[in-house]
């Protein structure tokens, strides 16, 4: 298999992977660059690196991306555990394995990088290759500097066990959050909100309680609501959505026109849509600045999202409760 060695840092690679997961399948390079707060020239190598390490996969074309299972895990763990996940993937990435083995054989990092470039016919300058491999290796604790500033390879025979522990902890935390959200949704809404709806609700709340970026949480909530309104359209009798109506706001409006949503529920969804749009990193043309969303606001939005879902089914059962 042909490999590439894109010029990016470990931090950008990880953040780009998280961006693909947070923004959803088939997200574009431009959207990820907005998520990262930089240019496409900035995001493209980070995404390529994420693909090389198996965190994301190519989507419908070279400008679209799909998150892999590890992208969700990356987005769910604190920084110290992100390094472990990167280490796991890095050790399986052939160019890094060759670089590491050449270091173990006593080569300097410059020579090891040059030899790696030759083996994989990388067009990249050897000095750039060394920069990237050392950057990824030191971030993941696979490499470290000795007292004499010589680069050392670290060996961790327990890394597989560490990964399993990380996964177990994440699964346990998500199970606890799921139980909390299901209780808030009530029986009917919880039975309805399966698949992406509940997964994204968990992601959103998980980010808030773990101190992850608030924008990520709001994006997840937006995805959950989008999946929810599309599923509401499928309730018998099915409301057929026009082919061009795909966005959260558009689908909600169509369902309001078709009287699937009442005015109150539609209005609340419009408010949550405005918050999701404000979470975008790009500057708002109307106010001339980028919105900052507080954790408290995002927490309230999660509560409101659950309340709307619950109330939708309460209202159908003849109880006008919010």
């Amino acid at each position: 298999m042909a490999h590439s060695l894109p010029q990016t840092t470990a931090e950008l690679l990880i953040r780009a992977s998280e961006g693909v997961y947070v923004l959803g399948p088939e997200t574009s390079t431009d959207d990820v660059s907005t998520f990262l707060g930089g240019s496409a020239a900035h995001a493209a190598p980070a995404l390529e690196g994420a693909r090389e390490l198996g965190f994301v996969a190519q989507g419908q074309d070279s400008d679209h991306w799909i998150p892999g299972p590890l992208a969700r895990l990356l987005a769910s763990v604190p920084p110290a555990e992100k390094t472990v996940l990167l280490r796991l993937q890095l050790e399986q990435y052939e160019p890094y394995a060759v670089f590491r083995d050449r270091l173990l054989a006593g080569e300097s990092s410059a020579d090891a990088a040059r030899q790696t470039c030759i083996k994989f016919t990388f067009a990249i300058d050897a000095l750039d290759a060394e920069t990237v491999l050392v950057n990824w290796g030191t971030y993941s604790n696979g490499l470290r500097y000795a007292e004499d500033r010589k680069l050392l390879v670290t060996v961790d025979p327990d890394i597989d066990r560490t990964i399993v522990a990380v996964q177990e902890r994440v699964v346990a935390e998500r199970a606890a959050i799921r139980a909390h959200i299901v209780a808030r949704l009530g029986v009917d809404a919880a039975a309805f909100a399966t698949g992406e709806i509940i997964d994204r609700l968990i992601d959103s709340y998980f980010d808030l309680v773990n101190g992850d970026p608030v924008r990520d949480s709001v994006f997840h909530l937006g995805h959950a609501l989008e999946a929810f309104v599309k599923k509401v359209a499928e309730i018998d009798p099915v409301v057929v959505l026009p082919a061009t109506t795909r966005t959260l706001g558009g689908v909600a409006q169509h369902l309001r026109n078709e009287r699937r949503f009442n005015d109150k529920h539609h209005g609340l969804i419009v408010g949550l849509t405005a918050l999701r749009n404000a979470a975008d990193h790009a500057a708002d043309a109307e106010v001339g600045a980028t919105w900052e969303i507080s954790r408290r606001t995002a927490m309230a939005a999660n509560e409101l999202g659950w309340a709307v879902m619950r109330s939708f089914f309460e209202t159908r059962a003849g109880r006008a409760e919010l």
Binding site: Q7, T8, T9, E11, L12, D30, S33, T34, G37, G38, S39, A40, A41, H42, A43, P79, T83, L127, D128, T131, V134, N135, T138, Y139, R144, Y145, R149, H281, A282, A283, T290
Partner: protein, 254 residues
Amino acid sequence: MAERDFALPKSSYPELLKMVHAYFLADRKSRGEPVSVPEVARSAAMNRTTLSRNNAFFASIGIIEGGQKKRLTETGRELGLGVSHDSDDRIRSALSRLVDESDFLSQAVSAVRVRSGMDFGALQSHIAISAGERRSPDTLTGAGALIHLLIASGYLSDDGGTLRAASPGARSPASDEGEVTVRDFVTTTSSEPRIIRSYYDTLSGYYRLPTTQGMTVNIILQVDAKNVDEVLELLRRLSGHATEPEASDQDLSD
């Protein structure tokens, strides 16, 4: 629509400080009003193009603000004052505040921290890539300037060629501790002098008395007819002259 990448400086750290000083001098002359780049360059006999090339960086970390005409931010003015007084403490205090408020600079510190240290070249490349730049002499100069800025701010230290991140609590005091400055506005009411608030930051740039050596102490007193005697007594105490009250009264009556 993607946002712009972080603007790296185009000059070395000492040159950047000279430019901040140039802005500071122009700021004093204009009494805080926005000034054009040619005016700033002229006031410091500095190359206008060099200054212009660094404006995006100065604006991105909050040293200057404005459109065609620029003005120093409050922190930019504090930094300029530090450079003007050659005060390492004041420079560190201002830089530390800039790092605190810049995601990009804070992330550079985090990169060093998570790796338990980085060498200069590795951090230079890391900063260049993070800013969306390719490695070139220009970008490495800019990245190098940022590293020196981070060292001067106290966020990074150079440990025998390896850069290390200082934990926030362990950083050197990033304030004016150890520097003799008068930060407080002293007044008197009925009997005892008391400190009511600090005006030093806003006034010191414009009301510094000319001096060639030693230190300058600026005292601003608010006086009204009711407390004039107490103020005179306070001045005597501050100047260390324990003049007899009677003599003082005599002098005043003359």
